[in-house]
Symmetry: D2
Subunit: 294 residues, 4 copies
């Protein structure tokens, strides 16, 4: 057994965990692996399969339930980004733990909830999908806002392209290669025009979930009275203000304070919306999402 103890000590010594820089936002982005094959073998509708997108959103919602530290997540297609606040100390900010726990939780729910969304004949999940996941630190509110703006612009660009592409293929009876060739080098206006003139599709009438992606977040506002948000979040604002006024050293929260906040987070409704997150409005109205610096 002496050998064992020596072995254990020596062997563990090779582990070299990476702790993410304190006082920075952490974004964990997961992304479907080999999803072209996965969606083909499970007959996903193109360009968007609402069952699949709703399943992604439901899995993200469960991930927020499982990890109360996450205030907001944003999803498009087969990817989802989860935000952790700058003062987060989950797993001591150990990168591998954060990455693996989020992706494992999400995947588990995706498979468990599959049959709720893919019903009927041929809806069986034959083999589970897998997702990869990465962690990225962003030091400022501006960086985080830019990150989400980048993803939502990407959502728009990709969806407009895919809508046009699959209109050509599905309705225009054009081969994939020809559709690709036709779209090469076109601008947004061209694609809008093509959709309208050839297929009578007004892109702006497409479902918002497709055009804007899905924002899943904790909503501390009282549901019936959205204007009461200011009141409901008074506490958060005060905390934010306080922090701002003093030094950058985060208040050392008591254990009770942390428990209280976690309980609070657990109780908050988790909502899914398809809204603009590039502009200021969304964030200004929900000041608890980004915290003090906002």
């Amino acid at each position: 057994m002496a050998l064992t103890i020596r072995c254990r000590h020596y062997t563990r010594n090779f582990e070299s965990p990476r702790y993410l820089l304190p006082n920075t936002y952490i974004i964990l982005r997961l992304d479907g692996r080999s999803f072209t094959r996965f969606t083909a073998s499970h007959n996903f509708q193109k360009p968007n399969d609402p069952r699949a997108l709703n399943l992604m959103n439901a899995s993200a919602t469960e991930t927020l339930k499982a990890i109360p530290e996450i205030p907001i997540a944003y999803g498009i297609s087969d990817e989802f980004s989860f935000l952790l606040p700058r003062e987060c100390s989950l797993f001591d900010r150990r990168e591998e733990k954060l990455v693996s726990t989020v992706v494992s939780t999400f995947t588990g729910w995706y498979v468990l909830l599959w049959s709720r969304y893919f019903t009927g004949e041929g809806g069986n999940l034959r083999s589970p999908p897998s997702f990869d996941c990465r962690a990225v630190c962003y030091p400022s509110v501006g960086n985080v806002r830019d990150y989400f703006a980048w993803r939502q612009v990407d959502a728009h660009v990709n969806n407009l392209y895919n809508t046009a592409f699959w209109a050509l293929v599905n309705r225009g009876e054009v081969g994939r290669r020809e559709a690709e060739a036709e779209l090469r080098g076109t601008f947004a206006a061209d694609k809008n025009e093509l959709l309208f003139s050839r297929f009578g599709i007004n892109y702006n009438n497409e479902p918002e979930m497709y055009r804007k992606g899905s924002v899943v977040y904790r909503d501390y506002r009282i549901p019936e009275d959205e204007d009461a948000a200011a009141t409901a979040t008074q506490e958060q604002k005060e905390r934010a203000q306080e922090t701002k006024e003093t030094t950058a050293v985060p208040k050392v929260k008591s254990k009770r304070q942390i428990e209280k906040e976690t309980k609070h987070a657990r109780r908050a409704r988790i909502v899914t919306e398809y809204v603009d997150i590039i502009g200021d409005e969304f964030w200004v109205k929900r000041p608890w999402l980004l915290g003090s610096e906002n």
Copy 2:
């Protein structure tokens, strides 16, 4: 859109992937998160639930199928360790990709295969488990052997303890606290004796899956004729020998060569055995598992 491109560029710049040191073995170890709660809420039998262990093994087997680069995995309780060979270049050895893909693949299969093992009433999976996962590099064959030895000794130590503990609790009608107190400070011999004298259990007759853990690996040997292993693995041996004789610079493998090997790996049977991996015999008989330096 110009903004977007600038944004994208700037925003991606915060990503800082870690590439694991070349020419080292990589072990990816996943581990159930909050499994005490999970096993309680799903009524796992104690100390060992064969349904749960077989489900772990089946999920590991599917993970090996999904990732042909993995030659061997070893599991105990709610953890599993996957080995990648030292010349592995999967995902360019990018840590996050390796960690997240393995844990996501494993979790997906665990949930999907659940109902095959947990049948009957009350067998429903109410919420999926999650696993965390870490990557550790080991520079030498000796280090890898030590790693597996460490895990198997741990399996033994834990299982002997748990067997005694649950015998006291389940059959001895002793409270958990008393059981703990009784076992504190005892040696292996004491626990063996306790099991035998008080409960008539000969620990050595306990199932090998419980005592030794599960070894899941690709078996290149011809099934009917185990002695033919030498022949079957002649190719591997030659390759190993060749490499040994020359420099440490790995042969640059042609794309065709890699495809051939992957195909070969995909075709190999994946077997599950409950055997000693501390001694030399297991490894010497399966020279393809650790490669050239063995």
Copy 3:
């Protein structure tokens, strides 16, 4: 030669540079190695040797000249901290390059300038000192301010202790062990009292360089007219304001802009002061030191 190219490629592949997180301040802190031995063998006066401190400051000044990206440095005893601004892209923020270049530049000047400060008999440098160096990222202005506050408080605490200790040893003719024992558990007030009552030393009259440490920074103000600072730094302020008003994406600076700024930095006077950097005043009056967020 083909071998060489393969070798080179494979061999370089083991390098795994770490790039420090963008948009964070970087502090490079160097620290004398085995300085107890070094100061003893070169007869440093205790508790403070002005020759040694002035040599440290001169070496830091030369380091600022050599690396125009550094706006400010702070030194106490045998350590010096150099700040790099959050938008710094020197060496692509590669950690090893930053750490090694700063410590090498500093050490080189320390040895070259030695004879200017240690003159007279017995002043020869027998063997050069060495310094270690580390890089730390700080995401916010508040964090950087806290860092410098921490170092200056340390300077104070250490110097008060050392002043009392060496007064006891040098003038009180007390052995080192006794001096240590006498100071154990004392508060600042006790040490002040001891210095005054036993040795007639008013600690507040000790040289500011000893009590406050040395601040070495680029001064963009017009020397004759300190109030003109506001004017002189108008450019910086405007830039800061601009940045604040827009997104967090740094303006992509033209090559010409960077060259202009570097030239500007090279021209600025580098001054050494022994002043308080814990309060706001120092920083508010020199808004270019911490940049836009201040």
Copy 4:
């Protein structure tokens, strides 16, 4: 002061040292920064200035004296590579400490010893050079051998080119641009021929220090009797053999054992040779340099 303690704790938390993977060789390579300018302003002879090379070698020698863990270093031009053995635990293998200490020690000696090599008029060191430094891990003896082979081949290739280039410029009275153009695309044989036919230079008669670089290492052999090496290193061999026969877990060395070895290392002669390190001979005859796996 309570603030201070909180500050200190919080502020130190941002430090994130990187520990280099155990059981791997570490090579620390330093490299002159902006040496073109430095050598021009100090009138280095071209293509090789023996004063500068001898100064590099002397500085490396002092670095080996200062850090007894280093068995061997190899230098060419303005770069030097220092090897640390795979069992090295200096600074707990903390990267920044290793990198900064080696480069600082080397730079200090370079400046201090300058006047010993650059004598006479105009020999003054006007401003010190600086070096950057990086750490790279290599898991196997083969990798280390490849590394040194790579550097020595580079030394050869560069020196042959430079010899031809400066012959054209200095003796052929050709402009630098023309010299460059003339050498573009030529092979080694062409350059040898050019040197011989145009300038009567037989490249193989050039000094070995220029052609092979400088090997600085600890020599445990008894000076008078080189054949006695086998005897002298018997101890090392036995240790190597022992290690080989058992597991990869390094013997836990007693403090006394480590002290003994360090003392042994300090006593060993440090020699400088200009010899081939690509082939096996050099390493086979000095088995203590690479340790057990050799």
